[in-house]
Symmetry: C2
Subunit: 633 residues, 2 copies
């Protein structure tokens, strides 16, 4: 955490210096905004927290509810989400209060006594070490609280505007605020009254029944029928031995349960499978009573029993696999000719079962993806064409998720003998762990993702995948740190310069690169506004091959030790040394002749280049972040 | 973190259920209180946070300042303090924002060129692994903020009463509120007006110039003269290579510096030695200007330079080694015949140099020590004689600290050639690490600390020292956890039952002990009030020798799986298994025939017994916590 460099911070350092639109932010929703986010679910709140880092931009979030979410909805937090929380500054705190999954247990009918269930296997969570972050369970409400805090503490001091329902919107061909949005007060003294707001961009984060989606004429296409679960968050007594372990439980004829222990060491959630819902059901399934769900749970758990003492939340959750073909308002045939103005994210554009625990997670990645791009375009850092990459990147991910979820749901619903092997489910769980951890996402080459030309220079950083962290030593204070955990969700591009062999101070590529990046007119740093810190748009960090005792700090080029803030303090958090006990060059397969790894603001590897490929680097940033300044807000 | 078992907690789970005096806590200071804490420094605030866990007790904190501390004073946080923060629920959060010391560097004159300093050694912090907690640097203000939050979130919802100055107090021989305290409004419209408050007990946490100390006639005795430092928290430019590393810097003739990097990655503190202050100085030293301090710093750092850009805080800190002979109001000859009513803690009873970075840390341990004891006595859990142990235990610790600090200061002040070996200072630092880490404290046998009779049954838990944690696996959810980190500062005694060899469910000592503890009239659990949870006063945890797969949870005696809260939820956080990768039985030298380790509410090992020594256990608790109920509040 870096602070004090703008003067002494006496209180909570998580509160960042206020700036720009944050200074006089009106309490009331203004008539004109740059970005209007609709909905304060996971997709909307991550987008809010990200855009709050761009204090030149007027961002508002409208939400139909009168206040924060209090209970219910999703609770599964994959490693990629925790990695995201780290970038937003609350991974540690939410991990402290969450339930942590270290094993998943599988239960099936006892072959000798099919009316009894027995444990058939225990599968470790993340057996292969796909992430250093844990797999957590915590209520969606708390995730939203932390994102809300991040938004409120960010320079723009963003807070949601509760009590506004989105009704519809229209996109004009021109004008500074081309989207006209019709809202309605959903609570309070003005309830029912209409309110018009004009926006440059609208982000629809309004869930499965999205009105934003409707108003741009997109449709969710997929399963005819829904699948339903009786979901309950309960305090209960049970002799089921794995009551504090995540379990998939299949009974011989009573159906199945997905069992999820919850934060706080007492509460748990059960998803009791209620099966496919026929089209003619007309919501009847939702009348399933709590008694019925408990009775069914007891049948499945036999010979164990469950006595519910207190129901904290319950729902009949009905969902099908459905997907929109595009995630913005530009018809396929017009892509590239028109700037998208309205985007849809999360449940508004894709839905799937709760079984793989993906809903909240994928929505968070959608929201982050569109938000930094809007930030860059509105801030004048990138061309509007950047916005086309949102739908292109995220629609594929949603399709993959639906495919995965279909397979996983099919396997969980199958009778044990249909799967052949009693370990089939556990094997699938372990083998595919990277997917549900959220770490299989790999973006295709585009404006912001390079091709694989130099991939072999750093095999452990697959281009288009998220930057996988590794331990290093921070040079200035000999602290063992995780390189990737210094990635903040601050909208900056990052360049990780992995030094070549010579010692600091000796003629080397890392030295020449420093020269070029600070002084060449082709350097991306040249696009940084003159009144901003030199690292305001591009964060350049260096990692030496020597250990921290082997690098003399005064011999490190000043490019990697920039002076920032009103007091021109040196930022020492940019120079690292390999940790001999766990060398990042070996661990991530980095060429010892020096490599540059460029990382996007959302943490994905954009491109890999040799240190001397400065022309290619200049070209990469020319099309995405420079060449000229873009008009901006 | 455990929550939800009293019903769903929708917001921050760090806010505990409100209870007792917390429910209608008056904003205004009442005329009669159980405990009056004077001063909201580290000693006062830890005492407040601890007593706020006893909601039957009316505790108030008066503080002269109009509000929270904003800047300055101490910043060194030893491992024992972080361990304490863990018990109060904020170790993770404060560690995130603190500077972490991993190395200390020593600089001395270059023998060839004495006007230049050179690095003579690097000493790792905690080379021998005395604690799993880090050594931190963070401003005292933030430590106080976190304790204040803990107090505010505790059942009693305690907040300091700012703007009251303690003037004096008198102790009567009898009456329900025998201490009459005279306060004066120190700010606000009533400034200067006197206010009388009557208390059962007063805790003087009012710093080095303690009026509480004065009013009970105790005196600080010690050095004639003070030592002075020019202290500055600054943002500065410097080519000194270790500017982000803790350093002791000795120059050939310019004096010495203790250099402390600070939280936030930019700020640092320098203690520039101003030498002994003669008695005739009359505060002249305090006129030392910032320019003089900076000039001196530059002379010491030569050939490196320092240019201060911004001074966040500065002070001339003057202090000597001084100690009160007793820490309460009972004259030595009357100990045991009269209950102490007034206590002094922290700087009010001992002062020493800033060099060993102990001031805030030792004060925290003082405050915690007296607070839980007052809680127990006022809650009717323990006899008043428990209060005699406060002065007896803490005065010795303060004496040890002064001895250590004298030695350390002498070595730091000595010219390198006087020490003989250029590594003498670094060697001393590494060899004595346990002391400044706060972990050498070992209480003598007393009412609450047993003798060494059975020490050999668990050699890694020295009786009288703090319970050193070790990794284990929590049985219910296979989570790798640190056993000691489940120790909350909730005023409970803890019994760690290390199981004998048989598997859970087999005849064993651990089973017999469970029987005895739940059903014997001699069991300490019998003292627990009937309307309280069975684990409200005594937290009994079991650790099996088998790994977590080898223990069947349904075979664990119910004594270790009690039902708590309004919904009688099983508390699963009490059953652990050894982690084969780092077996606690080996790691802490625990006899495999089974051992009971009793731990005090402040985390110190009280006694060690064989599992069958139930008579001895009963006897131990009879004198400290039972036998009869004490009258209480
Ligand atoms: C009732 C319910 C129960 C669920 N249960 C589970 C579960 O048990 N397990 C699981 O994995 N997933 C569950 N989900 C799904 C999971 O919560 C979603 O996948 C995830 O929240 C998607 O995030 P999102 O931001 O896209 O949308 P949401 O979290 O749905 O957020 C949409 C937000 O937009 C607001 N909104 C909607 N329409 C408007 C409008 N017209 N104007 C203004 N605001 C509007 C909503 O109030 C809401 O705050 C549930 C969802 C719901 C709605
Ligand atoms: C100005 C100053 C600078 C310091 N600088 C350093 C340093 O650089 N390095 C270092 O290691 N240590 C320093 N210390 C010492 C360190 O802060 C203490 O060792 C530590 O704070 C002791 O904690 P405590 O709770 O005993 O007392 P304190 O932290 O001193 O707290 C005492 C509290 O009591 C209040 N108080 C005092 N008198 C009254 C009264 N009559 N009525 C009501 N309230 C009263 C005070 O306002 C204060 O809040 C400094 C102390 C002071 C006062």
């Amino acid at each position: 955490m870096q602070f004090h460099h703008h003067g002494y911070v006496s209180g909570d350092p998580r509160v960042q210096p206020i700036a720009g639109t944050g200074v006089d932010r009106p309490d009331e929703l203004p008539d004109e905004v740059d970005v209007l986010i609709v909905g304060s679910g996971p997709a909307g709140m991550v987008a809010a927290a990200q855009l709050a880092q761009f204090p030149n931009i007027v961002t508002r979030v409208v939400e139909r509810r009168p206040g924060r979410l209090e209970v219910g909805q999703a609770d599964g937090i994959q490693a990629r989400s925790v990695e995201t929380f780290q970038a937003f500054g609350f991974a540690g705190r939410i991990t402290e209060e969450a339930y942590r999954i270290t094993e998943m247990c599988f239960w099936a009918p006892d072959p000798d006594n099919p009316e009894n269930i027995i444990r058939t296997s225990r599968a470790p969570d993340d057996a292969t070490g796909v992430s250093e972050f844990p797999h957590l369970i915590v209520n969606q409400a708390r995730v939203l609280d932390y994102f809300a805090e991040a938004a409120r503490n960010a320079p723009a001091r963003l807070e949601p505007d509760y009590g506004y329902e989105f009704v519809t919107c229209e996109v004009a061909d021109e004008g500074q605020y081309p989207v006209t949005v019709t809202l309605r007060h959903s609570t309070g003294p003005e309830e029912g009254q209409v309110r018009i707001v004009r926006a440059k961009y609208v982000v629809g984060c309004d869930g499965a029944r999205s009105r934003v989606r409707e108003s741009i004429g997109r449709e969710l296409v997929g399963d005819q029928a829904n699948h339903a679960w009786g979901v309950m968050d309960v305090l209960a007594e049970s002799d089921f031995p794995d009551i504090r372990t995540k379990c998939a439980i299949q009974s011989h004829d009573g159906g199945s349960i997905l069992h999820i222990p919850r934060e706080g060491n007492h509460l748990f959630r059960m998803y009791v499978d209620l099966g496919e819902v026929s089209e003619g059901d007309h919501g009847k399934i939702r009348e399933t009573t709590q008694d019925e769900v408990e009775a069914r749970a007891n049948r499945i758990l036999h010979p164990y029993t469950l006595t519910v003492k207190h129901v904290c939340w319950r729902s009949v959750y009905e969902v099908g696999h459905r997907l929109a073909d595009r995630f913005d308002d530009v018809p396929a045939e017009l892509v590239g000719t028109r700037t998208p103005r309205v985007f849809i994210t999360g449940d508004a554009c894709h839905t799937h079962s709760a079984k793989a625990g993906q809903g909240m997670n994928v929505s968070i990645q959608d929201g982050w993806n569109i938000a930094w791009k809007l930030g860059h375009v509105l801030d004048g850092r990138a061309p509007e064409s950047l916005l086309d990459t949102y739908s292109a990147e995220r629609q594929v991910i949603a399709q993959n998720l639906i495919d995965f979820d279909r397979e996983w749901s099919r396997m969980m619903a199958a009778k044990p003998d249909e799967l052949g092997d009693s370990n089939a489910l556990a094997d699938f769980y372990v083998k595919t762990a990277e997917f549900p951890a959220g770490l299989m996402t790999q973006y295709e080459p585009s404006l912001i993702t390079g091709d694989a030309m130099y991939q072999e220079l750093a095999t452990g950083f697959p281009i288009g995948k998220r930057f996988k962290s590794h331990p290093v030593t921070r040079l200035c204070d000999a602290n063992p740190v995780h390189l990737g955990h210094h990635h903040r969700a601050d909208g900056r591009w990052r360049m990780y310069v992995f030094a070549d062999r010579p010692q600091a101070g000796q003629p080397s590529k890392v030295w020449d690169f420093a020269e070029w990046i600070t002084s060449s007119p082709q350097s991306p740093l040249a696009y940084t506004p003159e009144d901003a810190d030199i690292d305001a748009w591009f964060d350049v960090k260096v990692v030496y091959q020597q250990d921290h005792v082997g690098v003399e700090i005064n011999a490190v080029p000043r490019a990697y030790l920039p002076q920032v803030g009103p007091y021109a303090c040196v930022d020492y958090e940019k120079v690292y040394a390999a940790d001999p006990a766990d060398d990042i060059f070996d661990g991530r397969g980095i060429d010892r002749d020096g490599v540059l790894v460029v990382v996007r603001p959302d943490h994905y590897v954009a491109t890999i280049l040799p240190l001397e490929a400065t022309d290619e680097l200049a070209t990469f940033f020319e099309s995405v972040a420079g060449g000229e300044r873009y008009p901006g807000v």
